[in-house]
């Protein structure tokens, strides 16, 4: 049973940060997961009054406040223009509309959960997280950091001409994924680059970057080889939703489908 001794709706980021430095302080996201644990929380810090619930688009980036809900993400026109339906696809399976009206982007990313669709999706994009004290760091670095006492303020996606695909396999439509997989490609520093993010392996999502120039008319066989290489670059585990071996097979199939889909669109 989790307990809270004190709830504070922070008035400034500074206040929130200071309060959070105590060992038994926690920052509140959507309260989807924290409530299920056994934490004894001395001070729970609510960031909802700090304007972190907005998605802002500039010429170069889309900045998603940490308190934005997954439902905002799902319905965000800026992300849709940039990445198509992939972003909505990455969250639409998550439990239900009520859940997504509540779960926050900050909570999903900060938690770095193994099953996270949100993390899997953002990892494949050109994404940074903005921290109160730690500056702005690449999501791919942040993922591997230990949880600390900094505040996650926003998730920043750099705009650029990129293709994005997202697919997952689930036992029931609203279950955690057996495997989740995002593929992104675009020209980076003048070179065609592919990013593959695979989550729920069941370990948390990890990123693979490949400077591959895949011909638009690549054969099925060729794409299959690329996909095999991608899938083999990750490690997998076994739990009640699937075996390591099956997950690797799924990774290969999904990566192949995503590459094929991108190539088909570009042809």
């Amino acid at each position: 049973m989790f307990t809270i001794s004190n709830y504070v709706k922070a008035k400034t980021l500074e206040e929130a940060y200071e309060l959070n430095q105590a060992r038994s302080s926690r920052v509140m996201g959507g309260m989807m997961w924290m409530r299920l644990g056994n934490a004894r929380i001395k001070t729970l810090i609510d960031l909802s009054g700090l304007g972190l619930d907005r998605i802002e688009e500039t010429d170069n980036v889309i900045r998603i406040g940490a308190m934005c809900t997954l439902r905002q993400l799902e319905q965000c026109d800026a992300l849709k223009r940039l990445f198509g339906d992939g972003v909505a696809e990455s969250v639409r399976h998550i439990v239900g509309v009520q859940f997504r009206n509540q779960a926050t982007v900050g909570g999903s990313i900060y938690g770095r959960f193994g099953f996270s669709d949100v993390l899997t999706a953002f990892l494949a994009m050109d994404t940074f997280v903005e921290l109160y004290n730690g500056g702005t760091v690449r999501l791919s670095d942040f993922v591997n950091r230990k949880q600390d006492k900094d505040l996650l303020l926003s998730v920043i996606v750099r705009k650029g001409k990129r293709q994005f695909r997202y697919e997952s396999i689930r036992q029931t439509q609203t279950d955690f994924p057996v495997l989740a997989c995002a593929t992104v490609t675009g020209i980076v520093h003048g070179q065609e680059t592919w990013y593959f993010s695979i989550g729920a392996r069941p370990m948390k999502a990890a990123l693979l970057e490949k400077k591959w120039e895949i011909p638009r008319d690549a054969s099925e066989e060729m794409i299959r080889e690329y996909a095999q290489e991608v899938a083999a670059s990750f490690t997998y585990g076994t739990n009640m939703r699937g075996s390591a071996e099956y997950r690797q097979h799924l990774a290969e199939v999904l990566v192949r489908r995503e590459i094929s889909s991108i190539l088909a669109e570009e042809r």
Partner: protein
């Protein structure tokens, strides 16, 4: 034929909204926890972390010192007479193997102590302070190794079995039997084709949305009042009498609205704890099971392993069926000896009268969560095995599985040796099959169609049956009285758990009494005032209690005529009652029901009421055919249910809209069992499947389209020709979906659930 008999019906065989609908859709406070007084003590259970252990020491002093704690009860406080929590007619076939709390704990989650206090916080705090020293024992976790295992789940001397069900606690046996007709081994030996396979169904949770819950208090007479979400109020009264070792007249059980049961609440899962607290302290108490408790310490479906042999000749005539069922009752024996029987008695008779059959079973104790009753009650498991075996036989014969069934299925008038030798007086199974084939487009779609996008769609079929009540046992009683202004009150002891029995029994009464449903008030169950009914289970309410209602109304009509004649000053032979008034046919003089109702309240020496009971020597089976269309992703194995078609013969359909929803709901549960739901244990016997996050019941995105029709026969022994509907509907999805997968990709899955990974592995092996 049945058409003629049902077309004159005015209320029965017509849709009607449920009598409690308005309260339910506007969220009125009608369920147990909505009604519980605010000053109830909160009751919670300290549960064993071990699958098998003895409590060596238990120290409650620190827990009792927590402010607000009323009591902490341990095995030392409990009566030492064993009992069963199974809601069955006395003497129960389920063994008496329980104590409220026992020194030996037998599964992870077994009750070790009861804590009661004034607030949830205090109780939770105290629970952590109950110090228990366990002597951890080796558990029996593999049900295939349980029989005659040196480790005994119930070594105690006072274990008792009241009925001769072949139980022996010194062998971990909860039941054993064998029955049959003809020489099965000899006939199988002479068959041209024999399929010999083993099938495995897992435990499943009913997951009614309202978990187990009960509150209790003492009334002005010092009696224990129990308000509980139960399917079996009268059995609960007896069970509590046994558990607390107090006379039954000290106990009153009331059933409010219930948020679903599906058999889970045919076991008295939650009642004993607050009852014990109230009896000890004199204070009101309530227990609300968390979903986690409802998933880990409840009454799920029995896991079964079934070895089937089916033999046929070259033409596809099924000549013999041999079934051996091994059933896992878990730590306690609730419904163990009876569920297993249905695995054979409700599967083999689908094939009428084979030359020989044998049905043998063992039910074993293990150190996992105790099993109980779940819709289908063993038939679901047995039908998965036998119907799957018949589908494998069809493949062996190179025959369309619907054609194989048409050759062999039971038909009206046939004797069913494996169904206690009963004869089917009503059976439209053949029409169900024909209609289901039309509905799904079987002839065009069988066996499969490649969709050209890496996906292939297959169709599959299964048949099912169930009973209508337990013959020679189940008893329903109804009572009805005429009140002021002539309105009726109908008293029943059957328990509406959302299924709508209050409604359909009102419909029957309105039909019998030539009145509107709104002229009849129906009363929920209160064991102090309701007439006896064994409860709502075993598909009994429509058939058994329904007949009791019909008989009661017939008696009342006679009494109304007699009384009317008396008031009109003529002979009862000369009057007619048309529902509104009693008329003297000779004079045309009449007295209205309203006048009659008011008149009997003055200077009257005999109440204008009637009460009758019904119990049946037979249990007429409903029949159905289910067909599934399933799409398989050839690369990932992911199955998607596209379409499910069901055609049901439940005799006369009493309320078509409620019956239809029963069918759709049962099929959706069956789909969950077939494809998604799994209770998974770790090596130490702890289940991972402890929440809706880890045990996935289907959402509305997981059930495809479910289409239902009825092909009614007319059951001469039932009310208005009706048979049961509640349970049969869960039986076809597992075998029909399995068959669709088989026909789509050639993979036969013999262990549920049929996950994408299992299908994928099957396809790998095929290559």
């Amino acid at each position: 034929m049945s058409m003629e008999r049902t077309e004159k019906l005015r209320v029965v065989n017509h849709p009607a909204a449920k009598v409690d609908a308005e309260a339910l859709v506007t969220g009125r406070a009608v369920y147990t926890n909505d009604l519980a007084p605010a000053d109830c003590l909160i009751v919670k259970i300290v549960r064993s972390p071990h699958a098998h252990a003895l409590i060596k020491e238990i120290d409650t002093s620190r827990a009792e010192a927590v402010p607000g704690i009323e009591c902490v009860l341990t095995y030392k406080d409990c009566p030492q007479k064993r009992f069963t929590l199974a809601g069955q007619t006395y003497p129960e076939p389920s063994p008496y193997d329980r104590l409220i709390l026992d020194q030996r704990v037998r599964f992870v989650g077994d009750a070790a102590a009861i804590v009661a206090g004034t607030s949830e916080e205090a109780v939770k705090k105290a629970m952590k302070l109950v110090k228990i020293k366990y002597e951890v024992l080796e558990p029996v976790l593999d049900f295939r190794k349980a029989k005659d295992n040196p480790i005994l789940v119930h070594p105690e001397d006072n274990w008792r079995s009241l009925c001769s069900v072949g139980a022996d606690n010194n062998r971990n046996l909860c039941a054993h039997d064998v029955c049959g007709a003809g020489d099965v081994d000899a006939v199988l030996k002479s068959c041209d084709y024999v399929v010999d396979r083993v099938y495995h169904t897992k435990a499943n949770q009913q997951t009614m949305m309202e978990t187990f819950r009960t509150y209790t208090y003492l009334d002005a007479y010092g009696r224990l009042n129990v308000v509980s979400s139960t399917q079996v109020p009268f059995h609960v009264r007896r069970i509590l009498g046994h558990a607390l070792d107090i006379p039954k007249h000290k106990i009153r059980v009331i059933k409010p609205r219930i948020g679903g049961g599906f058999g889970a609440k045919q076991t008295s899962v939650s009642e004993v704890y607050p009852a014990f607290v109230t009896w000890k302290t004199g204070k009101p108490a309530k227990i609300i099971y968390t979903r986690e408790e409802a998933m880990t310490a409840s009454s799920p479906r029995h896991e079964m392993e079934m070895h089937v042999r089916v033999g046929a000749d070259k033409e596809g005539k099924i000549r013999a069926i041999d079934l051996h069922t091994l059933s896992n009752t878990g730590a306690y024996g609730e419904h163990g000896p009876t569920t297993v029987g249905l695995s054979g008695h409700k599967s083999i008779p689908l094939y009428g009268s084979p030359e020989a059959f044998r049905f043998e079973y063992d039910v074993v104790y293990t150190n996992v969560m105790s099993a109980g009753a779940y819709r289908g009650y063993g038939a679901t498991q047995g039908i998965f095995a036998v119907e799957s075996a018949v589908n494998e036989l069809a493949q062996t014969l190179g025959m369309d599985p619907t054609v194989l069934r048409e050759k062999n299925m039971v038909r009206e008038g046939m004797v069913m040796p494996a169904y206690y030798g009963e004869t089917t007086k009503s059976c439209a199974l053949d029409r169900c099959m024909a209609r289901a084939k039309e509905m799904i487009g079987w002839d065009e779609k069988y066996p499969c169609r490649d969709m050209g996008n890496g996906k292939v769609r297959g169709v599959g079929v299964a048949m099912a049956m169930q009973g209508s009540g337990i013959s020679h046992v189940d008893t329903g009683t109804a009572a009805i009285k005429v009140n002021d202004d002539g309105y009726y009150s109908l008293m029943i002891g059957a328990t509406d758990m959302g299924t709508g029995c209050d409604t359909i029994l009102t419909q029957m009464a309105a039909e019998c009494l030539d009145c509107d449903m709104s002229d009849i008030l129906v009363h929920g169950v209160d064991t102090d005032v309701s007439p006896y009914d064994c409860g709502s289970y075993a598909s009994s309410t429509t058939y058994v209690t329904g007949m009791a209602v019909v008989k009661t109304c017939e008696t009342l009509r006679k009494k109304i005529c007699e009384r009317g004649a008396e008031y009109l000053g003529c002979s009862a032979e000369d009057v007619e009652f048309d529902g509104q008034k009693v008329t003297n046919l000779k004079t045309g003089e009449s007295i209205t029901r309203k006048e009659l109702g008011n008149k009997v309240m003055s200077f009257n020496n005999e109440p204008l009421s009637a009460s009758e009971a019904f119990s049946s020597p037979t249990s007429p089976p409903p029949f159905m055919v289910g067909m599934a269309e399933v799409e398989i992703d050839k690369e990932t194995g992911v199955p998607e249910l596209i379409d499910y078609v069901a055609v049901v013969d439940c005799g006369t359909v009493v309320n078509p809209s409620l019956a239809r929803v029963q069918v759709e709901g049962g099929i959706a549960q069956g789909i969950g069992m077939a494809l998604y739901e799994d209770i998974v244990y770790n090596k130490k016997g702890k289940t991972y499947s402890n929440s809706f996050m880890q045990y996935k019941i289907p959402s509305r995105l997981d059930v495809g389209t479910i289409r239902v029709e009825f092909e009614s026969s007319y059951e001469p022994t039932g009310p208005f020709g009706a048979k049961s509907i509640g349970e049969i509907v869960i039986n076809t999805p597992s075998p029909a979906i399995s068959n669709a997968i088989q026909n789509a990709v050639g993979v036969i899955i013999r262990e549920l659930p049929m996950t994408a990974e299992k299908i994928y592995r099957g396809m790998q092996e095929e290559r």
